[in-house]
Each structure stands twice: as C-alpha cells, then as structure tokens.
C-alpha cells in the first residue's frame, strides 16, 4: 500500500472533501498565496490552484476575525475548515472558540448547527514558549466542542474527513513533529513518519480509540507525538519481556472511555503519557475516569507522565528536559511493575 506523511494525508482529505462538497471552504493565513507556502506546514499546497481563491481564503493576521467568520459561514451551512498557524494562537481567538462556537447552538435552543473545523498545529518544536504548547487537553473543559488529535497519516485522513462532515465545531490538532518531510517542511527532530493510507475512500468515526499495540502487563494511553515515543518504549520493554498495551484515544471529545477501561481491566495498570501540562490536564481527566469506573481493577497506583508545569523553554536541552521521553516512559513502566 502507498505510504503518505500526515501533511499529505490531510491535504488529500481536504482535497477530497472539497471536490465532493462545494460547501467546504478553507480560511487561514498564508494558505493560498501563489508562490507561498500552503500554510505554515505546506498542508494546503496546490488547493488554491485547484479550487480558486473564493474557496481557499487567505486572511489577515486576525485570529478572532478568522474564527468568527468561519462560525458565521458554518451557521449558514458552509463547512469551513479554518486554521491558525500554531495552536498557541487559538488564545487570540478564545472568545470566538469558547463563547461563540461552543455555545451558540446551545443557547439558541438547538436552532442552529456549526459545522466548523479549526485546524491547529500543536506540540513543542524548539521555538520557545509561544509556539510550543500542547493545548488539546485544555479545550476538553469547554462543552460544545469536539477535540480530535490524530497520530498517524491513516487516522489523520479518516478523522479529518469525519470532522468536516460533522455538524459541530471540531478542533483538529496536528502535531508539528509528525507532519513528515516528504512534500512538507522538515521539522528539526521530527519523526520521519510515513504511514499506509489506502487509495480508496474511508472515514474514521469520532469517538473511537485505537489499540495501537496489544499487550497484557500495562496499559499506556498516549496521543500525538507521545504515542510514537510510547510505541518505541513498548518495543524496548518487549525485549525485556514486558508486554505493553498502547491506546491512542484519537479523539479527546468524544472520548472512547470503554476501550481504555476494558484495557485496564485486562492489564490492571495504567500510565498516561501526555505532552500537555500535568496540572488539571487531560491525563488527570483520564485518571479520574479510571478511579471512578475501574478502581477495583488496579494493581498499582495510576501514573501520569506529562510535560512539567512550566512554559516550554527554548534550548533543546531544556525543552527535552520538560517533555516526556522514551527513556522516561520506560523508567515509569519499570517502576510501576516494580
């Protein structure tokens, strides 16, 4: 089967949905400029040429204006895929995301729908504190949003197509180190990630986790870049006879609790590895679910391995220190298995 990068898989999902449905439009900064980049990570390259500038809309650096315009267009039945260049910039549009996109349908008593996708590159890549955050976990606290965080090209394509067809606002987080360099900008320290993506049409429903590796001794839940570090760790641990089950939630809202709980019932141990900060974070939410619903199955305390509660520092030495690594995942597993 052919192998694509995440950037290519996302581009293909956009192209297919735009061909299929004239209501799908793109809104963002630097996404369709002739001779430009196709967005900060080249994802939209070639789309303005195919679909024209009426449907691939370049914007000023106005995140509030971008998200607000996407919301209004979505209410009227278009299916905008808006984007910000780095998810850190979502904070510039926070009112539109949290007070408007998430709530307008509810406070209208269900009169309107907001079929909006907001793409946002996440994760630390050596750029310092304002282009580095992992914010996907933060948004789970805002009812009315769906949160998607794919880790592989196959998942990215199938989930993006479902997100575009979904009638709700979806925040779609893409990890900058997973885009790959084939036809895309190479990120220093990026995972050279190519994945099998079938030629034929497929979608992946939101709210279904994927067991990326089966195992019996311990469950690790991880997403985005941390999923890949976890899989590397699991490979090494296997050589020492430790069998790790790795679950990729793929969507944070809706969350496939059942797959995680069932895994814990089998392995009796759970480690959550997360690039989001630890305090009040997504890993804490997973922990709480396990305590509420599967506490009796645990043979060891739950452990969270998260990014330290600090802004992301610049120097690679410092950045590497605060974000979970393969070695620290291995160490955490060994400690838990005593």
């Amino acid at each position: 089967m052919r192998r694509l990068t995440i950037a290519e898989a996302i581009r293909e999902a956009l192209r297919e949905e735009m061909r299929k449905d004239p209501n799908v439009i793109l809104i963002g900064e630097d996404i369709g400029i002739p001779g430009g980049w196709g967005g900060p990570f080249t994802v939209t390259q070639g789309l303005a040429e195919e679909f024209g500038h009426e449907r691939v809309i370049d914007t000023p650096i106005s995140e509030t204006g971008i998200v607000g315009m996407a919301i209004g267009a979505a209410i009227m039945g278009l299916r905008p895929v808006a984007e910000v260049q780095y998810c850190d910039f979502l904070f510039c549009a926070m009112d539109q995301i949290a007070n408007q996109a998430a709530k307008l349908r509810y406070m209208s008593g269900g009169q309107i729908k907001i079929p909006l996708v907001l793409r946002a590159p996440t994760g630390a890549t050596g750029r310092g504190a304002q282009h580095a955050q992992s914010l996907e976990g933060l948004f789970i606290n805002i009812s009315g949003l769906k949160i998607v965080a794919p880790s592989t090209p196959y998942d990215a394509k199938g989930l993006l197509k479902s997100s575009i067809r979904d009638d709700n606002p979806v925040l779609f987080f893409e990890h900058k180190l997973l885009y790959g360099s084939k036809g895309a900008r190479k990120e220093r320290g990026g995972v050279e990630l190519l994945g099998e993506v079938p030629e034929e049409e497929y979608t992946i429903p939101l709210g279904v986790a994927d067991i990326k590796r089966e195992g019996k001794d311990i469950t690790i839940v991880a997403k985005l870049l941390m999923l890949h570090r976890t899989l590397e760790a699991a490979e090494e641990l296997e050589r020492d006879g430790i069998s790790v089950e790795v679950i990729d939630p793929r969507t944070l809202v809706p969350l496939d609790k059942e797959t995680i709980i069932n895994s814990v019932k089998k392995t009796n141990r759970i480690l959550i590895v997360d690039e989001c900060p630890k305090t009040g974070g997504w890993a804490a939410e997973i922990s709480a679910i396990i305590v509420e619903e599967a506490m009796d199955y645990l043979d060891a305390p739950i452990k969270r391995l998260c990014t330290s509660d600090v802004p992301i520092p610049f120097s690679p030495v410092l950045e590497g220190y605060v974000i979970p690594t393969k070695d620290r995942i291995i160490q955490a597993v060994r400690e838990m298995l005593g």
Partner: protein, 320 residues
Amino acid sequence: MIELSREKLLLLYRQMLSIRLFEDRVYQLFLLGMVPSTLHQYQGQEAVAVGVCAVLNRDDFITSTHRPHGHAIAKGVPMKRIAAELFGKVTGCCRAKGGSMHIGDYSVGMLPAIAIVGSGIPIANGVALAFKLRKTKQVVVSFFGDGATNNGSFHEALNMGAIYNLPVIYVCENNFYGASTHISKVMKLENIADRASAYGIPGVVVDGMDVLEVYRVASEAVNRAREGEGPTLIECKTYRYSGHSRSDPANYRPKEEVEFWKSRDPIFQFKKKLLELDVLSEKEDNRIRSEVEKEIEEAINFAIESPLPSPEIALEDVYA
C-alpha cells in the same frame, strides 16, 4: 424626505411603539419579580432597530447584542416567543436556554444574540461570506454599541469585511455610554463613523432618533451591499433611557442630558411628523396603541401560561 407608502410609515410607527410598550411592560413585570435575571432594555433606541430592519427582507440576517429585544421585535421574532424566553419558559424562542441576552430566531433571520461585546461582528462577516459565495443577494446587519468599537473584534472584522467586499452593514448604536463610562473617556474621536476610513469603507453618521433618516441611510448601505459594493459603517447617535441594566439607576448621567434626549424621543417625533403629514390621526394612534397593547398582553399571557422546561432538557442541544 424619502418616499414611503402610508402603510410603510405606519408600520415603522407601530414597530417602534411595540418595542417601547413591550419594554415598559416587561419592566413592570420585572419589578413584580416575574421576570428572572436582569434586563438590558431598548427604550430610546427604537428608531435604529426599526429603521434598519424595515429595509431588510425576511431572509436577510442580523446579529445582535446583550440588548436585543428591540432588534428581535423589529426583525420579526414573534413577541410571544420573546416574552416566553424572558420568562424562562420552554416555549421561548431559544427553548429557555438563551434568555434575555440571547434572543434569536433563525427562521426570521436573527442569530442568537451575542452578549460578548463586539463578538457578533466577525460572525456577521461569516454569514455575509456565505451569501457572497452563493451569490444570493442577501445581506447581514451587525448591530453593536459604541463600546464594541473599542474592541479588537471590531477592528479585525471591519478590515476583513472590507477586503472581501462582504454584503454586511455594520450598525453602531452610539448611545454614548459603555455601561457607566461616557464615550469621551474612552475615545478621542467625535464620530465613530470616522473609523470607517481606516478600513477604506464608507462611514455615515445618522440621527438615531429619526427613524426616517435611519431608514434612508440603511437603504443606501443595504443597496450597496446587495450590489456587491461591500460594507458600510453606520453610526446612529441615540440614547438609552434606562440604565445599562435593570439594577443600574444611571446616576452617572446628568439630568439635563437625559431630558435633552427625551425631548427628541423617536416615537414622539415621528408621531408628530405623521400627524403633520396627515398619515396618522389621534384616533388612529389610539387604535394602533390599543392593538399593540393587546398583542403585548397576549404575549405576556402566553409566557405566563407556558410551562417551565423539564430540567433534563438542560442536557440537550449541546451537540447537533
């Protein structure tokens, strides 16, 4: 003066009267403890909502603010659905999920009102974008107050509306106060409409107490928008008779100022004009008043008699 039919003139009058009497009645009920929460009322500004919405078609859209009752009545949201929403009843236009500050009715072209100052303006752009891409000739009006024009949303949205030539009309209701703060403390310009030049779009100042002037200026802006000539910023100088919200006695406003604006009351002025033009007689005025009062009482009774929502519906309508 613009040429309007007798029927249209009387419609403008009746709508302004409807808003005034509805707001007065709701205030009485609020004082009786029958309306929960707070209220941001529209008395004094009626000529703006009515003058602008009278230009619009049913399938044109508006966005509104935390002070939306007047816009809702002018755009044609059924009064009984508005009243029921204020009372927190399940028959309200937003199924009791929205309340006073989020009145809206998609079927008549009013998005749920947006109570974060300035935030409706970028959303109006999106509505306009949909109209433009579909070449429907529909337009959208975004209502907001003077306070919103000091918010970043205003800047981002007007710039984007301008560069994309969107069919949107930005209607600023300058009532001179953002909550308790007078505009002179927060803006060096005398006219908010001057800000339009920063975006390369027309900006027009209009007497917001004169419904025919508002209608005339709105007509020009709406025509421009329908013809693909892009947005206009209209500043309507007007005044709210009440405080910012129901708990606000508005002690920060000089009595003389309030009296001055009340002497220019949009409904009184328009009635005078209609009497002079022989479009209206005192007798007909009484008839219109009693019809409006009857409609309001029916709406209030509908609200009072409507059931409260069953609590579990609080969990519905989050996702489509």
